[in-house]
């Protein structure tokens, strides 16, 4: 598998480097039976078959402790898999690290910086670590990366004086030092204020529109919904599902939501009308959407003297999809 590709005239920058893969599809990340069992027997990742299409913004979703970071570390060659294979940009990891990683920008488990160095010197150091980075263009590339994340003004400050949000931006800047084929961003909006989150999301969209594949891990469902085209859902070390975000959300039905102070009466009327799964939560009563006409339900509620303050069918979200898939809430795995 390694030999034939070594004779390819231009192995760099070819997104469809998955040519050697069965199926020959344009996948940027492809794992088969990827498994990691830590010493001590804990199974962190269990038989992962992950496929990230080229050009997608792939949301890697799962509660804390579900094996997302272990997977990312295996993809980046930091952790050796116990079994299974991982191919990134069509080349096997961790064996092809030196050829693959210069084309990959990564933010893994938050930024890590040298506090005694300025923001600029931190980037210079990470760039110097990349043997393919040209030192003649280093200053320009570092300045451009700082500018892109909005840190140009704070570039000369020592990194220990940075706020968490600034550190996060500097970590992102390190991932953007070179043009990349793949960006791996692990919880990129952690520690950012709402304005910073919006900026990062628009940056991710901008990068994706340039053709960069973005692999974005998050435990925030709405974040994934807002920026991702595709998603994979992890729980307890297993990949439960993957596909386009639209397909995933379509797999789950929406919910009828009635906002009212008369919750008990509402629940009674709804059950009378034959809708299932009625749940009372504070001043909201939710249920499965009715099979019949919506307005009939509303009329029945009003006739029964229920003070209806809100009445709507909420679109199924990824969270509903997640709950439907796992039959449990989105909590930290034990």
């Amino acid at each position: 598998m390694d030999q034939p590709s070594a004779t390819e005239p231009d192995p760099e920058g070819s997104d469809d480097g998955a040519g050697g893969d069965a199926g020959g599809d344009r996948s940027v990340i492809r794992t088969r039976g990827l498994t990691k069992r830590y010493r001590g027997g804990q199974l962190a990742v269990d038989g992962l078959d992950l496929t990230v299409p080229a050009g997608s913004v792939f949301g890697f979703l799962g509660p804390n402790g579900s094996g997302k970071t272990t997977t990312i570390r295996m993809l980046m060659g930091l952790i050796e898999p116990t079994s299974g294979t991982a191919r990134v940009l069509g080349r096997p990891m961790p064996r092809a690290s030196r050829d693959v990683l210069p084309q990959v920008g990564a933010l893994i488990e938050g930024p890590a910086l040298y506090g005694f160095l300025s923001g600029r010197d931190n980037l210079v150091r990470y760039d110097a670590a990349d043997p393919t980075a040209d030192p003649r263009t280093r200053t320009t590339r570092v300045a451009a990366a700082l500018d892109r994340v909005g840190l140009a003004a704070a570039a000369g400050k020592k990194a220990k004086a940075y706020s968490l949000g600034m550190k996060q931006r500097l970590g992102l800047a390190a991932a953007l030092l070179q043009p990349r084929s793949l960006l791996v961003l692990d919880e990129p909006t952690n520690g950012l204020d709402p304005q910073g989150m919006r900026e990062i999301r628009s940056l991710v969209r901008e990068l994706a529109s340039d053709g960069t594949t973005v692999f974005l891990s998050s435990h925030l469902l709405d974040e994934i919904e807002q920026v991702c085209t595709h998603a994979g859902v992890m729980a307890r070390g297993r990949l439960i599902t993957q596909g386009s975000v639209a397909d995933l959300a379509a797999g789950a039905r929406g919910r009828l939501v009635v906002t009212t102070p008369d919750t008990a009466e509402t629940a009674r009327v709804l059950k009378e009308q034959g809708v299932g799964d009625v749940v009372i939560a504070e001043d909201r009563v939710t249920s499965d959407p009715p099979d019949g006409e919506l307005s009939d339900i509303n009329a029945a509620l009003v006739t029964a003297g229920v003070r209806v303050r809100g009445f709507a069918v909420e679109r199924a979200s990824l969270e509903d999809a997640f709950v439907a898939l796992t039959g449990e809430g989105f909590d930290v795995a034990g």
Binding site: L78, R98, I108, Y114, A129, P131
Partner: protein, 305 residues
């Protein structure tokens, strides 16, 4: 192993691991990480503090000798752990302060500072989380380890030269300079004495390569920089103590510190090479054994920090 050899070795590694990348460009980029590593190390406040402490030792010794002998008497033989027969000569010739200062710092101050820098080399990066970003850059595990070792060796040399130069300056200010008498009793010129002092400084720096390799190995075992530093310095002290226990004389020739003070033999006429060669051979053995162990550990390690 000299630094030039280190870098050459590093180059070979890169070529072997990356046969497909343009070679001509690679040669210009090869030393980039090493230069950045030196820059980063010597800009740390901690590194500068260690060097400042090392520079202060000759100043203290010089002033102490000056005060002790201000009434015209000569210093008693062997005062202050100053090593073989050097301290009593300082008042006659400031150059002897170089030998005295090196003899005073070699048992503890120098190796301790090497232990701090070497122990922190990998573990400190792991502790700060910067290790994962260096490896994803991708620095390459072998390349990063060799860069770290080359940097620690450079620090050995710089630390030793700081002691020597500080001692030479203090010696020149407080005491007369001139021709000097070797341990064997022969006279050599001041210039030749300076040459011997430089040679001694280089031998002292080389004596520290074993501790450097040991510290680097310990550094690959843990994700805590403090733990690695403490372990290395702890091992250093333990070995020094064991080296004093007569019952262990069969083991003592294998302790990295056993032949350290043999550098004094360079002040004999003719130079007595036996222990010097044993010392350098022992350091090379430590560098090979613990260097390989560090490589085996670091290249196979799961980076979870």
């Amino acid at each position: 192993m000299s630094q030039a050899e280190e870098i050459a070795f590093q180059g070979r590694e890169e070529r072997r691991d990356q046969p497909r990348t343009a070679r001509s460009r690679r040669t210009t980029f090869r030393a980039t990480l090493f230069r950045n590593e030196l820059h980063t190390t010597f800009r740390r406040w901690r590194t500068l503090a260690l060097l400042a402490v090392l520079a202060a030792v000759p100043i203290l010794v010089g002033i102490a000798v000056k005060i002790e002998t201000s009434d015209g008497s000569s210093t008693g033989g062997g005062g202050g752990g100053g090593g073989p027969a050097f301290i009593s000569q300082i008042t006659n010739n400031g150059l002897f302060l170089v030998f005295t200062a090196l003899a005073a710092t070699l048992p503890f101050f120098l190796p301790m500072s090497i232990g701090v820098v070497a122990g922190d080399a990998i573990a400190g990066e792991a502790n700060a989380g910067t290790l994962r970003y260096l490896l994803v850059a991708p620095a390459g595990r072998t390349r990063l380890l060799l860069t770290k070792y080359a940097t620690v060796m450079t620090f050995c040399l710089v630390a030793t030269l700081v002691v020597a130069l500080s001692a030479l300056t203090v010696g020149a200010v407080l005491f007369p300079l001139g021709d000097l008498t070797t341990i064997s009793g022969t006279q050599i010129t001041f210039t030749e004495g300076l040459g011997r002092a430089l040679l001694i400084a280089l031998v002292v720096a080389a004596s520290l390569t074993g501790v450097a390799a040991l510290g680097l190995f310990v550094s690959t075992l843990t994700n805590s920089g403090i733990a690695a530093m403490a372990t290395t310095v702890g091992l250093l002290i333990t070995v020094q103590i064991l080296d004093q226990i007569p019952q262990l004389h069969a083991l003592q020739p294998y302790f990295f510190s056993h032949y350290w003070l043999s550098f004094a033999d360079l002040m004999r006429e003719p130079v007595y090479w036996d222990d010097l060669v044993k010392n350098l051979g022992l350091q090379a053995l430590y560098a090979a054994v613990f260097g390989s162990a560090a490589w085996a550990r670091f290249t196979a390690k799961d980076i979870t920090a």
